[in-house]
Symmetry: C2
Subunit: 250 residues, 2 copies
């Protein structure tokens, strides 16, 4: 077993959060280089061919893609299990993870979080109001309509909290960053389930660091995060100009 | 074990092909409803919330996403194994599958196949020449540069042919549909590896059906495919007008 994992990522990315929650829930030691999203030098491009975060580093070895990383951590550290034991339930959990990564990623991240936060701060551009309107009024409601009958009235999706709850919860956390609360009158089951997910110790612990990242200007973030107990590593990747390119979802 | 799987898909989709190759290599019985891509009625939307193909149906149960489906088939029918036994290799194989699904999907399907084939035939629109040029001259070469040092000089990626070879091969097959051969002078290892992959019996068997699908007008496809021995089911989904929307990759 490795001594420790190293994560390249940022506390505001839902894909990074997914991996961090898995590491936390499995009690695995790790360090993190909290690079700014959409920023990365040549070395980053070598570690992450699609220029996405998170990247997991284990000694000399490098692994990409949040879903691939979580599945690897599960197989390497099977206890506590975060994937259902039943094969069909496990497949359904993976499908919900993919639904979150892909559809909620498109809507909550590219439709809302990127428009309202990243685009203005990193690129000095105004949000695309039509994209945001569609995300808020059509696409997120469609996702909530899909999820409402599928989420459990109590507890979590497949018994104990696991990868499907984690994945979906990570994206709704980003929706909350841009003040999109789930309307509990319209989707009561989803709103209550999300409260249970975000109350998990791993989510609560990370929320402190996410809030600090949101609050503190980029140059001061490392010091502030370290002061809050985040396992921040020395800066290894350098920085570069913000870039758009294919650094989209992971 | 189920009697038989049912696939909703189309022989020209690389995501569908991936699942079909896995079914073939594991010797599992299946039927297929070869719906036209980008077409599907309300019932299809219920089976596939993101309106993507393939969909796997097992009795009353429905599963989405080609990667999730392949992983499920592997766990339910472990022999012959199509995923590496070694955990790190297995993670790398899944990463290459994700790289294919995501980057090669964007480039080979949306940059080339959709532009040159689907867009004209289904939507009566001309291809976007700039999108095609970028795919041919920049994006596919970048992928080939990435893959060349990673592909084996002989045999397959992790021993016997498996999910990484299958996934990557499926997308290069679509690149071949629009006459993008791999330049063997520039990427000799990749060109030779692809020849080995496409020579696998499952790929050869499906190629006959893919060629027929390309050649035969839509209304005659089912009959022609059935005549060629394809396990075509009765049409269950009906058809609808072609639609763009979120039916992108799966």
């Amino acid at each position: 077993m490795s001594e420790s994992y190293h994560i390249i990522g940022n506390y505001l990315s839902p894909y990074v959060r997914k991996v961090l929650v898995v590491l936390e829930m499995k009690g695995l030691p790790y360090s993190i280089d909290p690079i700014a999203p959409f920023v990365g030098n040549e070395r980053f491009g070598e570690l992450s061919p699609l220029r996405r975060i998170p990247v997991l580093i284990e000694g000399e070895r490098v692994l990409n893609d949040s879903s691939v990383i979580c599945q690897y951590l599960e197989e390497r550290h099977p206890t506590p299990a975060l994937y259902p034991a039943d094969l069909w339930q496990r497949a359904q959990a993976r499908w919900l993870e993919e639904y979150a990564d892909s559809y909620l990623g498109e809507v909550a991240i590219w439709g809302l979080f990127f428009q309202k936060g990243v685009k203005r701060i990193l690129f000095g551009e105004p949000p695309d109001e039509e994209v945001m309107r569609r995300a808020r009024e059509q696409q997120l409601p469609a996702a909530l309509d899909y999820l409402e009958p599928r989420l459990p009235a109590s507890g979590f999706l497949f018994g104990a909290a696991g990868i499907a709850d984690i994945s979906l919860g990570c994206f709704f956390r980003n929706a909350a960053f841009v003040r999109y609360p789930i309307d509990a009158a319209r989707w009561p089951g989803t709103a209550a389930w999300l409260e249970r997910v975000l109350a998990l110790p791993a989510f609560r612990k990370l929320a402190v660091l996410e809030d600090a990242t949101l609050r503190v200007p980029l140059p001061e973030q490392r010091a502030v995060l370290a002061g809050l107990g985040a396992p921040v590593s020395p800066q290894t990747l350098g920085t570069a100009a913000p870039r758009r390119g294919p650094m989209r979802r992971d």
